[in-house]
Symmetry: C2
DNA sequence: CCCGTAGATGAAAACTTTTTTCATTGACAG
DNA sequence: CTGTCAATGAAAAAAGTTTTCATCTACGGG
């Protein structure tokens, strides 16, 4: 999800493209999995309320995804499907693209559950901490 | 994790077995995946602070697990390894035992990451909502 | 049993985080 | 350019969580 397409999506839905919204997008583009505090630090001129509202808006547009990985909320630009490896020692979050789910082993058919999405998180120790 | 073994674990670690702690354990045993509000409703005589502290204690003893599935925190007695299917329409959370993860496809070896645990959540529509 | 004591409880206060309110500002269509 | 309505942000309110501290009680030892 490039910033240009994100801005286009906002315009297309009739939302105004303000400097504050662009600044929050820029903060999100700078690094994945930031906390609200981290995002705020990257756009000091933007009011806290506006950051909250912008994250909500971008979330409703599917541009931003919110993660709950144990320590407070984190945000990422919704790029392609991927999963997370979280180091329980240093807190580092890394991504991997290959989906380790074996769909055949998701017991949904017999229960009549229609799968729309999934998430996988792997916890452990990263190379640096070992 | 039976209530008896949970109580035994508390005693063994030198924690007192108070009526409040037993009440919170009972509330947790009544239903999996409750919110704090739900737990509190099941032990009305127990002060809010004590519920918070008891959940922390039980968490540190490995008796209780905290879940973050999008809407606030939920708690469950840490039973055997299992995963969750969440209905995005009604919010219902169901469990399944069969682990759909293909360990071979977790790209950890090449990155030197040591896996200690994982979580899998499946989102979609439950049979009742379809 | 009954004490003594260290750990546990809970009301109140303090903090933290998030949402609402509302007066002012500014993006952008015409 | 201009007018309008969405967007912003300071302040206040609400919601959620933790700390403080006086009081209580579980339970080991006598
Ligand atoms: Mn990610
Ligand atoms: Mn469960
Ligand atoms: Zn690490
Ligand atoms: Zn449902």
């Amino acid at each position: 999800m490039s910033l240009e397409s994100a801005v286009g999506k906002m315009r297309g839905r009739g939302y105004k493209v303000t400097p504050q919204r662009v600044a929050v997008l820029g903060a999100l583009a700078a690094e994945q999995h930031q906390s609200l505090e981290g995002i705020r630090a990257r756009c000091p001129g933007v009011g806290m309320v506006t950051v909250y509202r912008t994250l909500d808006l971008l979330g409703s547009l599917g541009i931003v995804r919110r993660l709950d990985l144990g320590d407070g909320a984190r945000y990422e630009l919704a790029a392609d499907h991927h999963h997370h490896m979280i180091c329980e020692s240093c807190g580092d979050i890394s991504e991997f693209e290959e989906c380790p789910l074996d769909s055949a082993r998701i017991p949904t058919q017999n229960q009549g559950f229609e799968v729309r999405s999934h998430s996988v998180e792997v916890y452990g120790r990263c190379a640096a901490c070992l």
